[in-house]
Symmetry: C2
Subunit: 327 residues, 2 copies
């Protein structure tokens, strides 16, 4: 945790032209934090340009201001750059590089415990459930009351990053903030309908194809492998598994869940989940990835069968070392 | 809506021996409301016996006081009966009949819009997301501050009936109440881990077996039928579909979802879901069932194929008459 409130306020105070960027492959918290902060800084009279490599994914196009987000920055000369939801500078992508080219100072607002504190001012609180919660905390200090647009963006960040209040880190205060944001005008039902309540029909087709192959190991490891031919036959090219690993971990006999996905280049992307009392972050880290104790991931070399065998050996260790908090 | 606050307070005031009952086949809101109210009335000095036909299902045995719930009432002579989460008197089952045999007055606390107002005092608010929310509203009027035990029971009711804050009726106030209950000591993470985050491994096996057979009709009706031999081969006897119909409705091309389950007696149990803007309650009602616009159910005669055909004809009408609120 590092909260440079005063330094951040001073940097913001001196700035007039602000670029906000977020991480490549943006999720709901990335886009929600980006746009929520944009509307708030405009309330403070700043000129703000939001940007992210490849722009806003279609599922977040409903957020107010989404159409303003730039996928590239040419010749922009900000006097302040703010990165939201980026654990390290590489996550800011090409727009991050372009924004920083002229040497403007950087505010780093994030909630990842792995954050490298790469800003001139860092607002990094791993206890917040989403960077959007961190943005709200900052707005409270800046004296900005969320309007409907800000509230919509920030609540979307909180809802998506907590899988609708289901992650282990949700506190009483988070519910209080959700209440405030809805009272400020955030359309809660629409947000859930457009995000956590919706998956692609193609992803469901993929689940239908691969669930019959799921395997439960005696250590309580429930896993499934999605090979390239199956994925290609279904014409399913989305990098995301559509929550399949979250479904697996909900099975009462699973302590640890894993979904292996063979990519087009033959490498294997792996998503891990665990129930409280187990740690898959260590396994992911040993395979060159990262994440939280209960949700982590990595990408390793194929072929698929070898990747599975190698990973299962590590998962068995993790399963033996843990014990469920909730029996 | 009918809120006989004064009458209910008067009845409670005169009573010393209270029996609380809830509906047959109890869910998390039934048991949570039953036990939350039990602990609250004991704070007020009442002697309280909680009861429900067939007792507490194993998944709710973690709730404080679960071991006190009686599955039958013999010779108990209460001077007040309270029914929680029962839409009509029949839902109170045999314990309800036994409790009322001596003619004690009845308080009916519920949140179903179809409630028949069968109490001597009725506390029925269909705007509450769960009967547990109604219990909390009543406790506020009675001046009872929830302790850890009450908060645990009531939050379980709210979490389970809203599928963890995902139903269409969740308001800002509900989040405020969740915050209060967690601050009063309710173990939120444990509650979600034991309820909405957990499904049986056998149910997941059933999903794996039947999802490959799902069918999407051009009207946006996504459905799957679970025949008796498949269910029996998997040794899956649970009446609940483990949320399969909720999964189907989350697919982006689904407007209406249905799961048909062939029972051992050959009749067919059907669960319906819809996205906002559609109405499956009318379809369920025409087939002798009931429910809400977005979540309803019924049981009709087999054989399975005929039940499916008959139902799909009605669902096609409902699909044509609706339009999605969130495109």
């Amino acid at each position: 945790m590092m909260m440079d409130w005063d330094k951040a306020a001073a940097l913001l105070n001196q700035a007039q032209h602000v670029v906000i960027v977020t991480h490549v492959g943006p999720d709901g918290d990335a886009i929600g934090s980006l746009l929520g902060l944009m509307w708030a800084l405009r309330q403070l009279g700043k000129q703000v340009i939001p940007a992210v490599d490849e722009g806003v994914p279609p599922e977040f196009a409903f957020l107010p201001g989404a159409e303003e987000v730039r996928a590239a920055l040419d010749g922009v000369q900000p006097d302040l750059v703010i990165a939201v939801d980026c654990g390290d500078p590489g996550r800011m992508g090409k727009v991050g590089e372009a924004a920083r080219a002229a040497g403007a100072p950087l505010i780093n607002l994030d909630h990842h415990i792995t954050n490298t504190y790469f800003g001139d001012a860092n607002l990094v609180d791993p206890a917040t459930v989403a960077s959007a919660e961190g943005v709200l905390d900052w707005l409270d200090r800046l004296g900005v009351a969320p309007d409907r647009k800000i509230a919509t963006c920030l609540l979307t960040g909180i809802v998506t990053d907590t899988l609708c209040f289901r992650t282990d880190n949700v506190t009483a205060a988070v519910f209080g903030k959700a209440q405030r944001l809805i009272e400020a005008g955030a359309p809660y039902s629409e947000i859930t309908q457009r995000t956590v309540m919706r998956m692609s029909f193609e992803a469901l087709g993929l689940w239908a194809a691969v669930l019959p192959r799921m395997r439960l190991e005696e250590e309580g490891i429930l896993w499934v492998a999605i090979d390239r031919p199956t994925r290609q036959a279904l014409n399913y090219n989305d990098a995301r598994d559509g929550g399949l690993v979250s479904l697996l971990i909900s099975a009462d006999r699973a302590r640890i869940a894993a979904v292996f996905r063979e990519k087009d280049d033959g490498r294997v992307e792996i998503g891990f989940r665990a129930v409280p009392g187990y740690d898959v972050a260590t396994v992911a880290a040993r395979l060159g990835g990262g994440g939280h104790a209960l949700a982590a991931g990595c990408t390793i070399d194929g072929p698929l069968e070898e990747a599975v065998a190698r990973t299962l050996a590590l998962l068995r260790e993790a399963a033996r070392e843990g014990a469920p908090v909730v029996p």
